[in-house]
């Protein structure tokens, strides 16, 4: 089991093409931690904005009567991929990992696999 800081560092250093990563509480829209980002990608803004994305999808699924859960959400931009992965674990309901990738350098399948591994080892 690894802590938040270690998991985020691992995500930004081992995943090819990573620009920034954050762990977000989508109950409040606040980040528990973030690594990377910078002036081109404000991760506190991303945390708040993507909280709305996750909440909208959860609500939509409720309205559709889908008794299922979100594993991850992929947003494809012209030059970036944004990956949102919801945490499962007993004590980590209500959080998601957010990862921004450079589309030119990233391997999406590999990134998704690595993020899943990091999520499984993460303890909040």
């Amino acid at each position: 089991m690894v802590n938040v800081e270690t998991a985020l560092k691992e995500a930004t250093t081992t995943i090819e093409g990573a620009i920034g990563a954050a762990l977000v509480d989508y109950g409040s829209g606040m980040a528990l931690g973030h690594v990377g980002g910078g002036k081109d990608l404000d991760l506190t803004v991303a945390a708040a904005g993507n909280t709305d994305v996750v909440r909208a999808k959860v609500r939509t699924m409720e309205m559709l009567g889908l008794k299922d859960e979100i594993e991850d959400i992929l947003i494809t931009l012209g030059s970036q991929y944004h990956l949102i992965r919801l945490l499962k674990g007993r004590n980590s309901e209500g959080f998601f990992l957010y990862l921004a990738l450079d589309r030119g350098r990233a391997n999406l399948a590999m990134a998704r696999h690595q993020l899943k591994k990091i999520e499984e080892s993460l303890e909040v």
């Binding site: 977000v24 409040s28 829209g29 606040m30 980040a31 506190t44 803004v45 945390a47 708040a48 904005g49 909280t51 709305d52 909440r55």
Partner: protein, 145 residues
């Protein structure tokens, strides 16, 4: 409703800013701009207890300022209270005014902070602009200790 601090047209502009803020953060149930000494400058809320909220905000602000000061954290920036049924957040709008927001428990606090900080900058500009327009010997003092 309007106080001596800002003229009516500035009050209208502040009110427009509060309405824009409520449109951007729909979970807000009330928004209020008040002077640091507890007078309502503009308010947009369904409930009518603006005067008492402004007065309580001023009292909380005084304590928050002292707390921030005596722990070496510098001047007051913001105050967040979480109750069982929601949040009350107060943001500094310059030296002489504050922005107080009342939000439902399911509000996105991250977004609340982002939008409210932007609004408080805008409200500061509106107040300073209106004080500038009226500058002269009669201009109200904006000092707070």
């Amino acid at each position: 409703m309007n106080t001596a601090m800002v003229p009516a047209e500035a009050e209208a502009e502040i009110l427009a800013e509060l309405r824009r803020l409520r449109a951007r953060v729909p979970q807000l149930s009330g928004a209020l701009a008040a002077s640091a000494d507890g007078l309502v400058l503009a308010q947009d809320s369904a409930a009518t207890e603006a005067e008492s909220v402004a007065a309580l905000t001023a009292a909380a602000l005084g304590v928050a300022q002292r707390l921030s000061d005596c722990t070496g954290q510098g001047g007051f920036r913001e105050l967040l209270v979480r109750g069982e049924h929601g949040y009350v957040a107060t943001y500094a709008a310059g030296e002489a005014a504050v922005l107080t927001l009342i939000a439902e428990p399911r509000v996105n606090v991250g977004r609340l902070h982002l939008e409210a900080r932007r609004s408080s900058v805008r409200i500061t500009e509106l107040i300073e602009h209106s004080l500038g327009r009226r500058s002269g010997p009669e201009a109200p003092a904006a000092d707070h200790t």
